[in-house]
Every structure is written in C-alpha cells, then in structure tokens.
C-alpha cells in the first residue's frame, strides 16, 4: 500500500523529531510524555507558548527558534498531519544509547509511521563509522529489534522514515523486514560494498519500496552505496553553520508569504557532491574490510572533534600514533587524487570557504603536492620547514598553529612518502548496485572467480592467442 503522506508531510515529520525544549520541556516532541497525544496537540501546545521560544537561539544544530516556529505554523492548518497520533516514543538504551524514534499512527488511513531521528549521540557517531567495517552495525540492529517489537495489528500500511542516520536505519529495516510498504530516507547515508553483497537478494526484493529524499548539496547521503530511488531537492538556509546546514532537516523547506511549506525538485545532485561521492568510495575501496576499522576510528574521531569545534584535538588526531597512518593514507590519497582530478580539490576548497574555514591550509596542501620529494628529505627538520612556509608567505597564524602542533611535520613527511605509492584511480568510485553485485556473484559462483578477475583472464587469453598467432606467422 502506498503511503497517504505527501513528501512535504514526511519532511515535516522528520523536522518534528528534532524539536527539543521549544519554550520549555513540553516543547520536546520525542518525549514519552507525548505518547497518546496527536501531532496537533503537540503543535498547539508549543505555539500557545510561542513567545517563550527565542527566535535567534539554536534549539538543535543549525536550526533556530524562529525557524522552528515557521515549521510548526506550517503544520497547524494541515488537518491530516495534525490528527496523526503519537503511539510510542523510544529512547535506545542498548550499546551506550542515543537513538531516538517514534511510532506514529495515521487514523485516516490506518497507516503506521515509524520515524527515526538522526545521529543523537557520540555513540551513534561511532556506529556511523562502524558501517565501514561492520555488517550490520549495532545500532542498525537495535533499530530493527525495536521495529520488530512493535504491534502493527490493525495497520493496513507500514511506512518507515528518518533523517540522516535515521534514514539509514529506515532503509536497513526496509531491506530486512518484508512487512514494510514504504520507506522515505531523508539525507540518509548508504551501505558498504560488503553489506550490498551480503544482502543482495533482500535488497533486490525491497529496494523498490525505498525513496531517498536528498537536498542537492547534502554531504551525508553520498557516504557509501545508496539503495533505492533518489530524488533531489533545492536547498536553502545558510545560517551559522554555513555549508554544513545543507544537512539540516529544514534545509529543503521553502515557505511562501502565507507560511505554507513547499519542496522544490532540483535538476539533480550538486556536481561537487557527486565528485566527492566518487572520491570517497574509491578511497574506501583501497582498504580491505578487515583493516577498515582503523580508518573508521580515525574518521570518527575527527568527526567528533569537528562536532565539538575542537581544532586542536583534530590536529592531535593526525599525530596520534593510533590514527596517524590512516590519516596520512587519507590525505595522501586526496593529494594524489588532486593531480588526477584537480577540479575535486577546487570543489573542496569552495566547500571549506563557504563553511568559514581558513583555506590557507590548502596552501600547505598545494605545497606538499608539488614538493613531496623535498618534504620527505627535509621535512623532519622542522625549522627548515617553517622557514620554507614563511618564504611561501603562508599566514603567521597558520605557521604558529604548526609550531604548536610540531608533530604535524612528521605527519606531513609520512603523507609525502605515501603519496608516491598511491594510485588514486585504481578502484571505481561509482556506487555498487545490488543488481551488479548479484551478476558478479553469479559469475563468481559459476566460475569460482569474480567478474573482474574473469574479464582479466579473458583479456589475457586473447592476448596470449594473438602473440601465439604472431609467433606462428613469424616462424612460418
């Protein structure tokens, strides 16, 4: 059964999941106290005390009180949405906790709507990166377990949705549980190659139920391989977080002068994000599954530090012996990628600039790229490096940052060493489709080898035959 919800309503529900403490504790949508009330009860209760919501205060990352009021006012006249009942609110306690979700019920269509909030805690960030090396992850399983504990008696349709990590959980549940009728993943990340291969049959069976709603410049949906149809929407809303706000759940909302909300389809995905998607996929594929945990931990540590705005700790991650090697791999890969695809680094520079980052650091990256041999030779001599950077007119603030984190020089040398050993175009960066994975596995099953290996053997055999014919002709 199709969902009775419009895409606008789906997106508004996903925005409600982030409403926290709007005008006081009663302004939290995902609270067990809201159970049995309707969305309308919640909206009316909060708007009655709208004066207590501070317009320019951020109530969730990147979303202000004024923006939340706009969202709630747009729900108020929507009778269909207002009558949806909040049946159960869930706070995950397993695996260090953090995931939050809601079981909603639409009485007009007897539709169960299961909605998952995006990454809630550091524990969930850790789970996000573990998607690189675990199939499935602990929090994906927790979400499935909770879903399977719910009573759907009397429900004619089951729809799952979620934003960001919540989108990934909703796709996972749809793949794993055939009872789901519809899935709307909003800016949710994808799955690893290994996941696609392991669940290829389930994915092929259920991917038709999945719609990915994506802000054209969102940077989370590009992670790993997507499953299901993709629809891109225009984004707006550059606030304090700059470019990072492309991932906020309200980024795709446009309001008219009467306060009504609309989504606008875009022509497609932002080219910068497409390029970044391909680069990240090909980088991840340079690592085998069993050694990816280190890379994942390095990335996760950087993300958690960046989330806290702690630049010093990010620098410390690069020189921490646990992460240094993986971080050097990543940077060396990006720098080598730059020589093959210079536009990619230009895109990264633009993204960083829009995000308020000091792009002088990229000057150092340029320097490393162009002088990797020199750096390897003299890089351990910190004073010489500082002198060279000063000569290159690198800003004083950046030089003092490097002086503060002197271990970064060893890191840069390691990057320079690794750069010469990397072939950035060795692995494809395209998303792995379940259909291709299945064909690959069929051929592998039939011949005991993968399709790629088989094509290499065929090419080798053809070459050998040609050489043989030439030799015979020469002898004759």
């Amino acid at each position: 059964m199709s969902s009775s919800l419009s895409l606008e309503e789906i997106v508004l529900i996903n925005n409600l999941l982030y409403c926290e403490n709007l005008g006081g504790p009663k302004g939290t949508f995902l609270s067990p106290v809201q159970e049995s009330k309707t969305i309308g009860d919640y909206v009316n209760g909060v708007l009655r005390k709208a004066a207590e919501i501070i317009d320019d205060k951020e109530y969730s990352s990147g979303v202000t009180g004024a923006e939340y009021k706009e969202i709630l006012w747009s729900i108020k006249p929507n009778e269909h949405l207002r009558n949806i009942i909040i049946r159960q609110i869930h706070y995950e306690s397993e695996g260090a906790g953090g995931g939050r979700s809601a079981y909603l019920f639409d009485p007009s269509s007897n539709e169960a709507i299961i909605a998952f909030k995006g990454t809630q805690s550091d524990a969930e960030w850790i789970d996000n990166v573990s998607g690189l090396y675990q199939v499935p992850t602990e929090f994906q399983n927790n979400a499935l377990n909770w879903f399977q504990s719910l009573d759907f008696t009397g429900c004619e349709t089951i729809t799952v949705t979620g934003h960001s990590k919540g989108g990934n959980k909703s796709k996972f549940i749809t793949i794993m549980d055939d009872r789901v009728d519809n899935c709307f993943s909003f800016d949710g990340q994808g799955f690893s190659d290994e996941f696609i291969k392991r669940y290829v049959a389930r994915i092929i069976k259920n991917k038709g139920k999945i719609t990915n709603i994506i802000a054209e410049s969102d940077f989370v949906n590009i992670l790993l391989n997507d499953v299901g149809a993709r629809q891109f929407y225009l984004g707006t809303n550059y606030g304090r977080l700059g470019f990072a706000e492309n991932h906020c759940a309200n980024a795709v909302l446009f309001f008219d002068s009467m306060g009504a909300m609309t989504l606008w389809r875009s022509k497609g995905q932002d080219k910068k994000m497409m390029d970044l998607d391909i680069m990240l996929n090909s980088f991840i594929r340079t690592y085998k599954m069993d050694v990816r945990e280190k890379v994942a931990n390095m990335l996760g540590n950087i993300i958690v530090c960046a989330k806290s705005g702690d630049t010093d700790r990010i620098a410390d991650t690069f020189i921490d012996e646990r992460y240094m090697d993986s971080a050097a791999d990543l940077l060396a890969y990006i720098l080598r990628y730059k020589t093959e695809k210079p536009q990619m680094i230009a895109n990264v520079r633009e993204i960083l600039k829009q995000n308020g980052f000091n792009t002088n650091m990229l000057g150092v990256i340029d320097f490393v790229t162009n002088h990797d041999l020199i750096i390897e030779l003299i890089g351990k001599n910190k004073k010489a490096m500082i002198a060279i950077l000063k000569k290159k007119h690198v800003k004083e603030s950046l030089v003092s940052f490097l002086e503060k984190h002197i271990g970064l020089f060893d890191f840069i040398v390691l990057v320079a060493q690794k750069m010469r050993k990397i072939d950035p175009l060795k692995y494809s960066g395209a998303d792995l489709e379940a259909d291709d994975a299945e064909k690959d596995m069929e051929i592998k099953g039939r011949h005991g080898i993968s399709r790629r290996k088989l094509s290499l053997i065929v090419a080798g055999a053809v070459l050998a035959i040609v050489i043989l014919i030439v030799l015979i002709l020469v002898i004759l």
């Binding site: 009330k37 260090a96 906790g97 958690v304």
Partner: protein, 219 residues
C-alpha cells in the same frame, strides 16, 4: 585504573578508545566521563535506595544545543523499553544532577488518585495515565507524595491523560461531558495539562479506537 564491566561498556561505546578503556588506561577526557558516570550512579543509588540502576550510555553536550550531559540509565525490575535520563551540569568540578526516575515511583499512585476521583464523580473512566515533564535533583523526588504533585504543591509538570468509555456516554455529549470533567478536576485542586480521549469502549485501544479527544490546562 580499575573499571567495572558496566563502566567499560559505556566508555567504549562513547569514545574511540575501546582498547585503552579495556586496559584501564584512560585519557583525561575519558577520566572526566568516568567520574561523571560514577557520580550519576552514586546519586541514583543514594536517592532511590530500593532500586538497582545500570548506567547504559551518555550523550555529551559538546556539539549540541544543550548545556548539560545526558546520561541514559535503566532500573532493575522496571519493565520499560526506553532509557531513563539524568541531566548533569558540571559546576566547577561539582556535579549538579537531575533525574526523571521519581516519575516512575509515583505514576501509579497519581493515576489511581485521578481515577478514583473521577469514579466518585460518575465518569466512565477506562484508563488514566499521569506522567511528568520536570527533572528533579537530590532534594526532591524520593518518597514523593503523589497528592502533593497532583495539587501542584510540588511542581512536576503534570501531564494527565484520561481515557473514557464512550459506550457509556450518550453520543454527541462528549464536549459537555469533558466540560464537567474539567470542573470536577478543578474543584479537587488538580493542576497540569489534561488530555481526554473518548474510546469506543472500556477495552478500546487508546490509539486505534478513538471517538473524540480534547485538551485543557489546569493552572
């Protein structure tokens, strides 16, 4: 440093240092988290002596819009799928902790009191659920009298949900009946937000079998 298995499980879950945590070799940030975790556990155990608690996780405030850390916990013998939450403010090394567990200890008493009151008034009550919005520190919450909370002498942010048996109400009389119910609660001095749902019958599902609903505030 010696860590219990519960402490190891939580710290490994919220940091990327699982190997170090396993060995008890904690960095400064992890030491801070551990001391907060221990403070939460000691606080809960001291406040609610009849219960055993397990702290299961944490969402640190860094990178969020909150100015406190949120700790997740569960209580042995309490059948609830969702975690309970304790909020912790670090005030110059001293922890200011507030929790929501008091609600678990008084919700039954408060619900029964409202049910009884409405029963005396002749209302066909199918079910009453009372829950609370506020978080209390160590000074409030243990051995709380539900009557004090319902009357608003202790401000807990009462949220009262009343489900009525619609088969015992004349059709079309719901608004009128809810008006009478409001007067009755007001006269009894009850405070809080009240949600009234009329169900098809006393056994009706609170979500699937609704005939009517309305809400009002008693301040």
């Amino acid at each position: 440093m010696e860590l219990s298995s519960e402490e190891k499980k939580v710290l490994s879950g919220i940091t990327f240092h699982s190997e170090e945590v396993e060995k008890g070799e904690l960095c400064d940030e992890d030491k801070e988290l551990l001391s907060e975790l221990r403070a939460v556990k000691a606080y809960l155990t001291d406040k609610y002596k009849d219960y055993n608690f397990e702290v299961t996780g944490c969402e640190p405030k860094a990178g969020t819009a909150r100015d406190y850390n949120e700790w997740y916990y569960k209580a042995e013998g309490v059948d609830r799928a969702s975690a309970f939450i304790a909020m912790v403010w670090d005030k110059d090394g001293a922890f200011d902790i507030r929790d929501d567990f008091y609600g678990e200890t008084i919700k039954e008493g408060a619900s029964d009191a409202v049910k009884k009151l409405l029963g005396y008034g002749g209302f066909p009550v199918a079910e009453v659920n009372v829950s609370f919005w506020e978080y209390f520190g160590k000074e409030l919450g243990q051995d709380l009298d539900p009557a004090l909370v319902l009357r608003g002498d202790v401000h807990a942010g009462n949220d009262i949900k009343i489900f009525l048996d619609g088969s015992r109400l004349p059709s079309g009389s719901y608004e009128n009946e809810i008006g009478k119910l409001e007067t009755s609660l007001k006269e009894a001095g009850i405070k809080g937000d009240v949600y009234v749902v009329v169900l098809k019958n006393a056994e009706g599902d609170p979500v699937m079998d609704r005939l009517y609903s309305d809400s009002f505030e008693l301040s």
